[in-house]
């Protein structure tokens, strides 16, 4: 005989487990996004602080600018957003919003970095990287690994990555300034665009800025 009560109880318990799992998962996802939002706020504050410091440069000298002048949290923030993008536990709209803010923060940081290099005659050590998530771009993933490895190798190197097709006006302006073609992945070093996948050795050899960075790193490590 069928004991329908037992089936109902089993169903309710299973549904409860499912509901709890979804509830806990949503709670943790919210906490994670909150964590990303906190980092973004800190980065924004860092940039504001740097901008203020930069504005004061007129009254002070470049020597007063310490090593922590630029925010150090942009890299980890990017990693967390990439992770969030690849997981389906997060609310897509929230992630999209955070990604938008991240791109804008990157641009602000980039502008600051650029002004700093011009004003203080510092060797530019940054790369603008354009990738795509909306169409198939196998090389973009590989290029991402290369740039992460480069950043690990040269902590002073700043990599600003942008989703080429993302609907942010500032990214479009950036691509039009540097005349970046939609042949992705693309990187801009010292205003020079390079297209397609480039292995780490080739990048180090062919891009003058990196070559110098490599020399500087090996000199400092040999000392």
């Amino acid at each position: 005989m069928l004991d329908s009560r037992k089936y109902i109880v089993a169903f309710v318990i299973t549904a409860f487990i499912f509901g709890t799992a979804v509830f806990v998962s949503n709670g943790l996802a919210d906490k994670k996004l909150e964590n990303v939002r906190d980092i973004e706020n800190r980065v924004a504050l860092d940039i504001l602080s740097s901008e203020t410091q930069f504005a004061l440069l007129a009254e002070t000298s470049c020597r007063d600018i310490g090593p922590g002048f630029l925010s150090q949290e942009l890299g980890p923030l990017g990693e967390k957003l990439t992770y969030a993008e690849n997981q389906n536990e997060f609310n897509t709209e929230d992630v999209e919003g955070l990604k938008r803010s991240y791109f804008l923060l990157e641009i602000k940081d980039y502008l600051l970095m650029k002004r700093l290099t011009e004003r203080c005659n510092i060797r530019p050590t940054f790369i603008l990287y354009f990738y795509s998530t909306s169409d198939r771009c196998d090389d973009c993933e590989k290029m991402g690994y290369v740039l992460t490895a480069l950043r690990d190798k040269y902590p002073d190197l700043r990599v600003y990555s942008f989703d080429y097709h993302y609907d942010v006006g500032a990214i479009k302006t950036l691509t039009s300034i540097y005349k970046v073609k939609p042949t992705l992945p693309a990187i801009i070093v010292n205003g020079e665009p390079y297209y397609g996948f480039k292995p780490i050795d080739e990048l180090e050899e062919s891009i003058p800025a990196l070559k110098l960075l490599k020399t500087a790193t090996s000199t400092s490590s040999s000392k």
Partner: protein, 406 residues
């Protein structure tokens, strides 16, 4: 979505099993204390085909059963063996309780049916020639027949002296089956009366006929036939029978694909039981979910394998891109990078329940919980072995290929 549905059904089944366990655990304790009030006459049939190495031990184990000698007889059937099985059987020819039959090979069901013709006892059972009964097995089984409605009693089967890792996996798997069978028994949903020492009222064969070929799984067909006719089958978790488990991959896959093939084809033959309210739990729940589990096992393993494959591809791509120039430690121990989606939480819950049921199974099978190597093999390897025989069974079923015992 399919993954969530699969998980929901699997979780539902596990919860259902645990509720059943809570319902019957007191009853199980009572059963442990049962002693027979009467000793019905019993015949045990041992069908043999090329079993020269194990049959003597099997017969000795029956003759050593703790049961009134006059009430127990044995029929040994040599089913046209090509080895020295008949010689091994003839060693028992002087035992007044043993009868030996010799016939040309026709399959297990023909051997048992031939023996059934000369059975006149109240109860009759089979023992596969590669299995051995514990001395108290029949004493444990007999009291269940005090209930006049009980038509068959199945035992708990354990693996005889596991040696290699495959047999250790099967030892754990059989423990799981002991628990499962006991729960199915309470639901009235047993769909196999296993070859090793399932005992029937002789009237079952008089009323429903003898064994059939039944896609090489006559013990499954017999149970389904009993269920179809609303004959009660119960399980005695205390009656222990030991069987020799396949020691090679080839042997294991062959045995399991035969079982799965038998299940698929007998289920098709008895499709009238499916989703039929008249058959209660077995029709509405157990047979459908057993069929579902064949396909869900494929799906889940494919999903896990795909996840691993993606990770391997990722590592290869990373290696192609940067060689060994990447930090193995990144991302660090940041909880942020822990997978906390609903799916992993549900998988962890389902695995947790599986481990808990396994704990109960091991406790039921061995009398107390003992962790052994087979448990780890079972947890980490078994799931990935299952699709091997499932796919063979599906292939054989779809292309109507004949399966064999050996």
């Amino acid at each position: 979505m399919l993954l969530y549905i699969t998980l929901f059904i699997s979780l539902f089944f596990e919860v259902f099993l645990l509720i059943t366990y809570l319902e019957v655990r007191e009853e199980m304790k009572r059963e442990d204390k049962w002693r027979p009030t009467k000793f019905p006459t019993v015949t045990v049939i041992v069908p043999c085909f090329n079993e020269e190495e194990t049959v003597a031990e099997a017969v000795k184990s029956i003759l050593n059963l703790d049961y009134p000698r006059k009430q127990l007889s044995v029929i040994l059937v040599n089913d046209g063996s090509t080895d020295n099985t008949l010689k091994a059987l003839n060693k028992f020819k002087n035992n007044p309780r043993v009868k030996i039959l010799d016939k040309t090979n026709g399959g297990k069901h023909t051997a048992v049916n031939l023996a059934l013709e000369s059975v006149s006892t109240e109860l009759v059972g089979c023992l596969d020639a590669d299995s051995f009964v514990m001395p108290n097995a029949l004493l444990k089984i007999a009291p269940y027949f005090d209930d006049q409605k009980t038509m068959a009693v199945t035992p708990s089967i354990k693996v005889h002296k596991p040696k290699n890792f495959l047999q250790h996996i099967q030892r754990t798997e059989y423990s799981w089956s002991i628990f499962l069978r006991r729960m199915l028994s309470s639901m009235g949903a047993l769909y196999v009366t296993p070859g090793p020492f399932s005992i029937f009222r002789t009237q079952v064969f008089e009323e429903l006929g003898g064994y059939r070929h039944a896609h090489m799984t006559e013990d499954m067909e017999m149970a389904m036939r009993l269920q179809k006719n609303h004959y009660k089958i119960v399980n005695s978790h205390g009656a222990h029978v030991y069987t020799v488990a396949p020691a090679t991959f080839k042997g294991l896959i062959k045995q399991r694909s035969r079982w799965t093939y038998g299940f698929l084809n007998n289920s098709f033959d008895y499709r009238g039981l499916f989703f039929n309210k008249r058959y209660g739990n077995i029709g509405m729940f157990i047979l459908p979910i057993a069929s579902f589990s064949i396909f869900s096992a494929f799906y889940l393993v494919a999903h896990i394998a795909w996840g691993w494959l993606s990770k391997i591809i990722d590592v290869i791509q990373r290696y192609q891109a940067v060689g060994f120039n990447w930090k193995l430690s990144s991302p660090s121990f940041d909880w942020y990078f822990l997978s906390t989606g609903a799916l992993p939480v549900l998988v962890v819950t389902a695995v947790g329940l599986t481990i808990f049921i396994l704990y109960l199974s091991l406790r039921l099978a061995d009398g107390r919980f003992r962790l052994h190597q087979g448990v780890f093999y079972y947890l980490f390897l078994y799931t990935f072995m299952v699709p091997l025989w499932l796919s063979k069974a599906l292939f054989d079923t779809i292309f109507r290929r004949k399966v064999s015992w050996r």
